[in-house]
Amino acid sequence: MIQVQNYEKSYRDTVAVRGISFEVAAGSVLGVVGPNGAGKTTTMRALAGIIPPTKGRLTIAGHDIVADPIAAKNQLAFIPDEPQLFDVLTVWEHLEFTASVYRVDNFSQAANELLEKFELTDKRNTIAQELSRGMRQKVAICCGYLHQPKAIIFDEPLTGLDPRGIRTLKASIRERAAAGAAVMVSSHLLDLIGDLCSHLLILHRGASLFQGPIAEAKSRLESVSEDASLEEIFFQFTETNKHETPRQPAQ
């Protein structure tokens, strides 16, 4: 559903992402981890069509994000780390706006269900400027879900959410994946990744160190035991490569 082939992104002399390739199949949840500056957000923003790739091909549900951006974006929901709401629009108007952009007919019932699920019903007529950070995040998630996207990308989704909000979000991600959506989640919270994701992508200095099922990551490393935590796996991959810039993307 989400395909990235040889993606590279450079800013003048700085190479942010170095030719990475990966795939997220329908129904699977890919966790993207890496130290700060690894290229996680850059990759996700390129997939969302916000920044153009310098090289490579990125497709959503078979549509190239550069060549056929509208078709690709129609199948996608991108929930960034900082929810970008319009200050003077109400919660309901955000859903209304999303429905009109993605051309969702009769959205009211689905929108009300989402508000109910994320405990926003009583905030329906509140403008975004008056919402807390966590509530803004919930509104962004509701808007993302409204058009039933086939691919969903979350960048640090838990920031600002309360415990109930976290539980609801996790459950909703599992539900969406079970319903056939391809989900990508970037986070520094390795517990979240371990709990939620079926696959793992480890990025470091713009290169991919590992991509595949989480169980495979353990077998890839000789020095870790079978019951090693994701944290151990992460440090094994990233610390080994701390002082070198990988030239070839790992498979």
């Binding site: 800013y11 923003r45 969302a48 069509g49 916000i50 920044i51 153009p52 951006p69 509208i70 078709a71 690709a72 974006k73 129609n74 996608l76 991108f78 960034p80 900082e82 970008q84 319009f86 200050d87 003077v88 629009l89 109400t90 108007e93 209304e96 706006f97 009109s100 952009v101 993605y102 051309r103 007529n125 509140t126 403008i127 400027q129 008056e130």
Partner: protein
């Protein structure tokens, strides 16, 4: 300060590695040399003519003391003075917990602002100097005056923190009452002296009479002395005045140091508040300053628009945001326009001349044009939503069209209302006014479009910098000049197309229609450029100047 300067120099050196950076530096230098040079040569040329020199000296005698008195009254009555003790978030985070005395912190803030004042003083001193040898004393004099105003503002702010808020308000009101009484007294004395003479619109004669009243002379006396110091033709004359000013500044500085010890917490609180406001301005533009923050505004609805290939939702969002955010702005604009309109009406009727009756509505249209210019070229849209808009399944062309037309339509509606008002007051010129109305929307669209285009190509956000932040001012000046160049070309093209129509067909209406059409064609041509620039726009590259 050394590290800050080093950072600024490093940033400048880094920017010189690109052609754009070199261009901007050269542009700044050229503008500075041009500005300073023209001021200096203007003063040289006028110095050679006794008539001009006398007139300029009279202007200085008349208006500098009045300006200084006005500033002083403003500071005493209205200034909170908080901005004079502003620390950036990084300064507050690093310096407040550091083993640095409050006195040192205050000295640091003063030293920083002194740099800005020195630059401002340079401009004035070049203009006010009768000869090159007197540039330095002039410059010193102006720096001392500006420092006096800065220290006075600061001291008043500290007093406010030291005194209870109620007591401060009481003192301020007391000062206001005294000032009001004194001003009334000046007018009474003036009335007694001129014995009911009617000056009509002769502002100069009226002002001279007012200035001659005993109280006004007394009020203006210290400032008149300052002007004498500034007009000194040699060092010997300047030095006593300079010494007195230095003494006054020294006393105020000592007072500020003593009072400041009691206002640390308030300064920190203000700095945090201001940092938040600045952050908001930087990411969302000046527009956000007008944004109210209660859900009550949600009652103002704009009906949903059809999809129109994606233009509809964007236009709806933009119009709703503008409609809900703008009441204050619309109120300010309408009031300004009403005052301007009232003035032109008054002038037209007092003079009772046909030229004035035609001139007044034309002046009204010019005010409208200026308002468009001011608003459209300073109200950029927020940066933070560009990424969001780019992630929507709507073509860039539709997004930029929806984004482009929302605000100009609302602004034009307000201006149309003003034109209707002018038509009521000046029915004889209704034809001209309505022809002007035809151009309101196309002009607003071109202005707004050009502003957006420049922003997308070089995304730098206007934000208030520290006092004397000339780098920021210079950068904004360049962008404004760049926009002016594009707008100048657009205006020239419009004139070239419409003037022949006016002369050949002898029809002003057809010429206006032609001009409007040319402007709309320019807007049409801007759309693909805007769409392309929007696609290339990467939020990561935004520079906050």
């Amino acid at each position: 300060m050394r590290l800050q300067w080093r950072g600024a120099v490093r940033q400048m050196c880094q920017s010189l590695t690109t052609i754009r950076g070199i261009f901007f530096l050269v542009f700044i230098l050229v503008m500075m040399v041009y500005g300073l040079g023209s001021l200096y040569f203007a003063s040289r040329i006028t110095a050679q003519s006794p008539q001009f020199t006398g007139a300029i000296a009279k202007l200085q005698d008349d208006f500098i003391p009045l300006g200084l008195l006005g500033t002083l009254i403003y500071i005493i009555l209205f200034s909170t003075g908080e901005s004079t003790v502003y620390f950036t978030p990084s300064e507050a985070a690093f310096l407040f917990p550091a083993p640095i005395t409050r006195k040192q912190l205050l000295s640091y803030i003063l030293a920083k602002s002194l740099g800005g004042m020195a630059g401002v003083a340079l401009f004035f001193s070049l203009y006010l100097s009768p000869s090159i040898s007197m540039v330095i004393p002039r410059w010193l004099g102006i720096v001392l005056i500006l420092t006096f105003l800065q220290l006075l503002t600061m001291t008043i702010s500290f007093l406010r923190h030291v005194l209870q808020e109620k007591m401060h308000l009481l003192i301020r009101r007391g000062c206001g009452a005294v000032i009001a009484v004194l001003l009334v007294l000046t007018f009474k004395q003036m009335g007694d002296a001129v014995q009911g003479a009617d000056f009509g619109l002769d502002f100069e004669a009226g002002f001279s009479a007012w200035k001659s009243s005993a109280t006004a002379r007394w009020l203006l006396f210290p400032f008149a002395l300052i002007v004498k110091g500034l007009q000194a033709t040699d060092w010997a004359t300047f030095l006593p005045y300079g010494a007195v000013l230095l003494l006054v500044d020294g006393v105020l500085l000592q007072l500020a140091y003593r009072l400041d010890a009691l206002s640390l917490e308030a300064a920190l609180g203000y700095s945090e508040k201001r940092a938040l406001r600045l952050k908001r301005l930087q990411s969302k533009g000046i527009w956000s300053a007008f944004s109210p923050n209660t859900s009550a505004i949600a009652q103002r609805h704009v009906p949903q628009l059809p999809f129109w290939n994606g233009i509809g939702p964007i236009l709806w969002q933009r119009t709703t945001t503008t409609f809900r955010s703008s009441p204050k702005l619309i109120w300010v604009t309408t009031t300004a326009l009403a005052i301007a309109g009232g003035l032109v009406y008054l002038v037209a009727h007092l003079k009772e001349q046909s030229t004035a009756t035609i001139g007044a509505p034309i002046a009204g249209l010019c005010v409208l044009g200026y308002m468009s210019f001011l608003i459209c070229l300073t109200l950029q849209n927020d940066i933070e939503h560009v990424g969001f808009l780019k992630s929507l399944p709507i073509s860039s062309t539709s997004i930029v069209i929806g984004d482009l037309v929302g605000f100009p339509i609302l602004l034009s509606l307000v201006q149309m209302l003003f034109i209707v008002g002018l038509v009521v007051f000046f029915p004889t010129t209704a034809g001209w006014l309505l022809m002007g109305a035809l151009l309101v929307l196309p002009i607003n669209l071109v202005l707004f479009g050009v502003d957006k285009l420049v922003f997308y190509i070089y995304p730098t956000r206007m934000a208030k910098g520290a006092p004397g932040d000339f780098q920021n001012a210079g950068k904004q000046m360049i962008f404004m000049a760049f926009k002016m160049l594009i707008l100048g070309a657009a205006a020239l093209l419009t004139l070239v197309a419409s003037l022949p129509v006016a002369f050949l067909l002898q029809s002003p209406l057809l010429a206006v229609i032609c001009a409007g059409t040319v402007l709309l064609i320019q807007v049409g041509l801007l759309v693909p450029l805007l769409a392309d620039a929007f696609e290339r726009f990467e939020p990561r590259l935004v520079v906050v100047s």
